[in-house]
């Protein structure tokens, strides 16, 4: 999976361009996240605004992406669409991540 990466004020924003992080995409997503977060800022925001649907495989892959970044680093989420927010809410994973309405908002707030 090709992820888009930009840096703003010491925060890396990683954008998922695909509409689904599901069983068919979970491993590709996790591998791409490992590459995208291997170096660079300790604070990463995952922009999910293009993602319409996440199943339990995709949820697990997002958790794995956070864990594989290592201690002292931070993965926030941004731009959750309704179906994605529902899966995070039901599984209480919305209590584990800092969730921003928009990825650029996350960068602005932390910089300011």
């Amino acid at each position: 999976m090709e992820l888009h990466e930009t840096c703003h004020d010491g925060i890396k924003i990683v954008t998922v361009p695909e509409a689904r992080i599901d069983a068919a995409a979970a491993i590709r997503f996790k591998d791409a996240m490992r590459a995208a977060t291997a170096d660079g800022p300790d604070h990463v925001v995952l922009d999910l605004s293009n993602v319409d649907f996440v199943d339990s495989s995709g949820l697990g892959a997002i958790v794995a992406a956070m864990k594989q970044m290592g201690q002292g680093r931070r993965l926030d989420l941004a731009g959750m669409t309704p179906d994605v927010a529902k899966v995070f809410r039901l599984t209480r994973m919305d209590t584990v991540f800092v969730i921003h309405d928009r990825a650029d908002g996350a960068a602005r707030r932390d910089a300011g």
Binding site: D22, A24, F53, S56, K67, P82, T91, V96
Partner: protein
């Protein structure tokens, strides 16, 4: 579609049953009581994607809200992933059948496959996995049955000959969470 309903009701009115209020009984764009549809797919991840998207389009056309459509898609995704990963594991991808039956305030989806039977006599309870202590211990799986149980009224499983039949029942009572 709505025009057909009105025409039928008008005919009934003309026949002299006097109950013309029935002409207004169909508020949704294509609301059908006791309607249904059947879809088939190969048991692989990409075919499951298409099956989910086709199912959602059909449910939307039958007047389900986006909230209800998302509930059904989340549950079906987990159940279908289980069939691909566990029922047909290691063998050539078989077929999955999906039958959806729409009632006035409910939806019943039945998934059938010819893969391996579920190993346990009882379906998993679907408890939320332990969140663990600290980020390193967070679970990366085990959410599937939790999501299925959380979003359905009832789940039934039967092994009939060489066929697995999983029946998933949804309540669609609230306009916010059911029909448009």
């Amino acid at each position: 579609m709505a025009r057909h309903g009105v025409m039928r009701a008008e005919r009934r009115g003309a026949a002299g049953d006097g109950n013309t209020t029935r002409a207004h009984a169909a508020p949704g764009p294509d609301r059908r009581m006791n309607a249904g549809f059947h879809l088939n797919a190969k048991a692989d991840e990409m075919s499951v994607r298409s099956l989910l998207s086709d199912t959602r389009a059909r449910l939307r056309a039958h007047g389900l809200t986006e909230t209800a459509c998302s509930t059904v898609e989340i549950v079906l995704a987990e159940a279908l992933n289980n069939i691909v990963e566990h029922a047909y594991t290691g063998s050539d991808a078989g077929e999955i059948g999906l039958h959806a039956g729409l009632g006035a305030a409910s939806l019943t989806c039945t998934l059938s496959d010819q893969g391996a039977a579920l190993p346990a006599p009882h379906l998993p309870a679907g408890r939320l996995p332990d969140m663990g202590a600290g980020a390193d211990a967070l679970p990366e799986g085990g959410f599937g049955w939790f999501l299925i149980r959380s979003l359905t009224r009832d789940v039934r499983y039967a092994r009939e000959g060489d066929t697995n039949r999983l029946t998933l029942c949804f309540d669609l009572p609230d306009p916010e969470d059911g029909y448009r």
